[in-house]
Symmetry: C2
Subunit: 141 residues, 2 copies
DNA sequence: GAAACCATCACCCGAAAGGGTGAGAAGCGC
DNA sequence: GCGCTTCTCACCCTTTCGGGTGATGGTTTC
């Protein structure tokens, strides 16, 4: 959980509660003015709050997915450098060393060095393992 | 959406509606017996239905996630065999050809053949690309 | 300015991966 | 039986990967 999330949840709750209170007041007025029967009044309230709750629950449950947040703490604790992270992303994208060299604008030997250091820090021996490990540590989506 | 999902959703809705109706009746009785004031009665209904809706919305939104469903149609249309699928899973698990041979109980050359055919069918050239492609096609989680 | 770190690149070497071809055995459908 | 698919394995060859070592130049840090 991050501060942005909490703020958004609080705002969400505030808006929902305000709308609910307002709607309730309006409904109560309608009821007291005898425009609604008792059962209809209660039914409207039940349906409205059930729908509101459903919407809110859906929203809260849906928000976390889709939003990938890179674990910068893990990157720092592993001591991964910028180029190593770029190499990691390109590995996960399925590029070969030669392609990565072209993408990064460096020599293939340089790419190999970065990958070697990357593997040592991730404690893996193959690129597929590196991708798995990086996903576990939330270094890449 | 699969039949199992639909049945479960229908049952879920049925149970929730039944519980809601029952609770409503009970509340109405309490109200008519004048044990509750009007505002408390309406408040209880609103909170209860909001919570119920939230729970339901949460459930509906979270259940589909996390449940991986293999795209058997894609597997069939690509003509992937059982051993090729097993090889694919082991590749995604980060195993080397030698390890896969041990896991599958066959010779390394056999594994290489399966992987060759697999790559041709997936139209990829590297194992990392195979994993990406397979994930896109929902062949593996 | 020395130490530490990062990025860059080179060389060697062995292992792993990938492409191509061929071929035998088992099972299935007609 | 015959064709088809699948699974199995082998051989050869090229490319890619990965490990190890060493070297240079630039930054930052103390």
């Amino acid at each position: 959980m991050f501060r942005g999330d909490i703020i958004r949840i609080v705002l969400l709750w505030g808006a929902v509660l305000a709308a609910g209170a307002f709607g309730l007041q309006w409904l109560e007025y309608q009821y007291l003015a005898m425009r609604f029967s008792f059962e209809i009044y209660v039914g409207i309230i039940a349906v409205a709050f059930a729908l509101g709750g459903m919407w809110l629950g859906w929203r809260l449950a849906s928000r976390p997915r889709g939003a990938f947040r890179r674990n910068d703490a893990a990157i720092a604790s592993l001591g991964l450098t910028r180029q190593e992270m770029r190499a990691l992303e390109l590995i996960a994208a399925g590029q070969s060393n030669k392609e990565m060299a072209r993408t990064l604008g460096v020599a293939p030997n340089t790419v190999k060095t970065h990958i070697s250091n990357l593997f040592a820090k991730l404690e893996v021996a193959r690129r597929t393992q590196a991708v798995i490990r990086a996903r576990e540590l939330e270094l890449i989506p």
